[in-house]
Point group: C2
Chain length 99, copies 2
DNA sequence: TCCGTATTTAGACGTTCTTCTAAGTATCTA
DNA sequence: TAGATACTTAGAAGAACGTCTAAATACGGA
């Protein structure tokens, strides 16, 4: 699947959008994230995997825990797509700028 | 369904995103839109209905034709949600501004 | 090396989504 | 008012999705 499509699909679920909002505050382990929802851990794990496939989040093992964080680079990129699709803004593509 | 969720779902499909891009160029009838896709008219009609439910497009009958256009007000609003969710920008809520 | 904790993977089940064909509704024109 | 055109609605089939329970894997500590 094209990555852009995967990313929009990832954003189409309310649970996953809430996970993104949580990770905007701070990095969290899978367990900490699961605590915020009325849902089993396997279900949250599945959602985290969707976000990972879409490259919206990154995971890193720290001992027994797996810490999830926002992939800010891709989040910026996605924002560019979104602006392009929804409001007609073209990406400027200025060099040397982080996005 | 919460309208915000419906809107993100509407944006999660590539066909619907292409319809939005087409309507950014100019208003089009259902038939003109359908011509741009390898898909039956009923299928396109269904996608147009999704976009209408999400308030992303408006429709207006002109004789035999139904003309679709972008609902720019809502598109701006959605962009605000998107920025809020994905990049942490809060809406400013400045009064008197159109959005 | 065995046990407990953290997390994922596998498999199943019901729901929602996308698409199709067939049939219906609305409008214009003769 | 009958026929043609534009579009939608209805109903069905298959794929994708979200959730669950049960089982597997990975790691740390006794």
């Amino acid at each position: 699947m094209a990555i852009i499509n995967e990313t929009f699909k990832a954003l189409s679920d309310a649970t996953r959008r809430k996970i993104i909002r949580l990770l905007r505050e701070r990095d969290m382990t899978a367990g900490e994230i699961a605590e915020q929802f009325n849902m089993t851990k396997p279900s949250i794990s599945h959602h985290l995997n969707s976000l990972k496939q879409a490259r919206l989040v990154l995971d890193e093992r720290h001992g027994q825990h797996i810490v999830y964080s926002l992939n800010t680079t891709v989040v910026q990129e996605v924002m560019g797509w979104f602006l392009e699709i929804v409001s007609g803004e073209e990406e400027t593509g200025r060099e040397g700028e982080q996005r």
